[in-house]
């Protein structure tokens, strides 16, 4: 068990050293910090104008209290929603240049000469991208709240929002890995995956798309809809009300789909020559 764990850590370290040399990770974190800052500085979810002369004074007091209590969460959701758009471009490129490119450069063949199972190669490549991209998005989004918004936020909702971006990263990476092992081409992987997610995004914005598909394909949008304080372009995606259970089921389905896609990638990777 100890040897196996050391092995995985060593493989992960090898992947970081070989594929993500300076300044790749620093640039990745910087990009998401910029997205987070942009989201916080242009954040206009709430109507903050307040006038005198209303009959519903208690309603107005409740509204002001809601705005103050939820501002942090609202900025976090806006930042995460913007990160989703960046994921559509970034994840296919990372998989294309760190995995699909390996077929042409001979890196995959070199890796197979080491005592590393094919399963571990897939997990190493996919896991590193998921970890780097999702943690960079989480750092950028949390920084946007901590650095620009004074009030705190509810921990439970924050965990839900951040979990949704990790699940989406896992799903997007699994799709890109599948395209990579099928095509063995960086160009097809990058453009094929981008096109797939772009079409998925268009499908999600269509009113007739089943709600289950929407919550599965884009869990962060489902969470934004559930909390009701996301940016307007996200809130309008879902026609009906989303419950807490819907968001959890959506994330569960997305995880399941990602595992199935990674399993398929492993089978194809095992049966095809390099």
């Amino acid at each position: 068990m100890g040897k196996k764990r050391w092995n995985i850590r060593a493989i992960f370290q090898y992947e970081l050293d070989s594929s993500y040399r300076f300044p790749t990770i620093a640039v990745l974190v910087s990009v998401f910090l910029i997205v987070g800052a942009f989201s916080a500085l242009t954040h206009l979810v709430w109507d903050t104008e307040i006038y005198s002369g209303t009959d519903d004074i208690s309603g107005r007091v409740n509204y002001i209290t809601d705005v103050v209590l939820n501002m942090g969460l609202s900025v976090l959701i806006t930042s995460i929603s913007n990160c989703v758009l960046l994921f559509i471009v970034l994840i296919p490129l990372l998989i294309a240049f760190n995995f699909a490119q390996g077929y042409n450069s001979g890196l995959i063949r070199t890796l197979l000469t080491y005592p590393i199972e094919r399963k571990n190669i897939i997990l190493m490549k996919a896991g590193t991208v998921v970890f780097l991209v999702a943690s960079a998005a989480s750092i950028g989004s949390i920084a946007s709240v901590l650095l620009f918004v004074p009030a705190g936020t509810q921990l439970e909702s924050m965990v839900l929002v951040l979990s949704s971006i990790w699940v989406l990263a896992l799903l997007m990476v699994s799709v890109s890995v599948l395209v990579a092992v099928i095509s063995k081409s960086p160009l097809v992987t990058s453009f094929g995956s981008m096109a797939t997610w772009f079409l998925a995004f268009i499908a999600v914005t269509h009113p007739d798309t089943p709600q289950m598909l929407k919550t599965t394909l884009f869990p962060p949008f489902a969470v934004a809809e559930y909390t009701g304080i996301g940016p307007l372009w996200v809130i309008t995606i879902f026609g009906a009300e989303i419950t807490y259970a819907d968001t959890l089921v959506g994330m569960g389905m997305a995880c399941l789909l990602a595992i199935i896609l990674l399993g398929m990638s492993y089978i194809i990777f095992k049966r095809t020559g390099v």
Binding site: S30, L33, Y51, R60
Partner: protein, 169 residues
């Protein structure tokens, strides 16, 4: 410390310093009222704010900055009588300046008509975050300092290389 981490720390620090100077437009308000006692904006930001308020009619106006509790009291009582503003700028037709917010909290910037006689008043208020954003600037500076301190060996190596090249070695 690993040279890569040291360089990454400097790079992220520089990016944060650049972000700290990014302009942040918070909100704008067009006060256009005759009977309203007050019109205000809820402001939530870290650091100071830059406020520009210009009267578009001949009336003068007053600006008050209230903390969150005073804001709720104002909304509840619909009166400025029992409210203690943090800042009061009264009877002006133009105000441009940086307002120091005492702590990181929610504030309410209120605009009222200075005249006791009801009259049409139009005031345009725009609020920006004052730059540099203090927390971003501080974090960026700390990261650069950490990167420089832990990467000083690499920096000294680079300086030595430059020195050697100058000396023609």
């Amino acid at each position: 410390m690993n040279a890569g981490i040291s360089k990454s720390s400097i790079l992220i620090g520089v990016i944060l310093l650049l972000i700290s100077f990014a302009p942040g437009h918070i909100t704008s308000l067009d006060v256009d009222s005759e009977d309203a006692l007050y019109t205000g904006l809820l402001v939530m930001t870290n650091g100071d704010i830059l406020v520009e308020a210009i009267a578009l009619t001949n009336n003068s106006f007053s600006l008050y900055l209230l903390d969150f509790d005073s804001c709720l009291r104002l909304v509840d009582e619909e009166s400025l009588t029992n409210v203690t503003p943090i800042l009061a700028i009264e009877d002006v037709d133009r105000y441009v300046g940086i307002i120091d917010l005492p702590t990181d909290d929610a504030y309410f910037l209120v605009v009222t008509n200075s005249s006791t006689i009801p009259s049409v008043m139009r005031v345009q208020v725009t609020i920006w975050r004052a730059t540099p954003h203090p927390r971003v600037f501080a974090l960026g500076s700390i990261l650069i300092a950490i990167g420089v301190i832990f990467g000083r060996k690499q920096i000294l190596d680079i300086l030595n290389q430059i020195q050697r090249k100058r000396n023609g070695d």
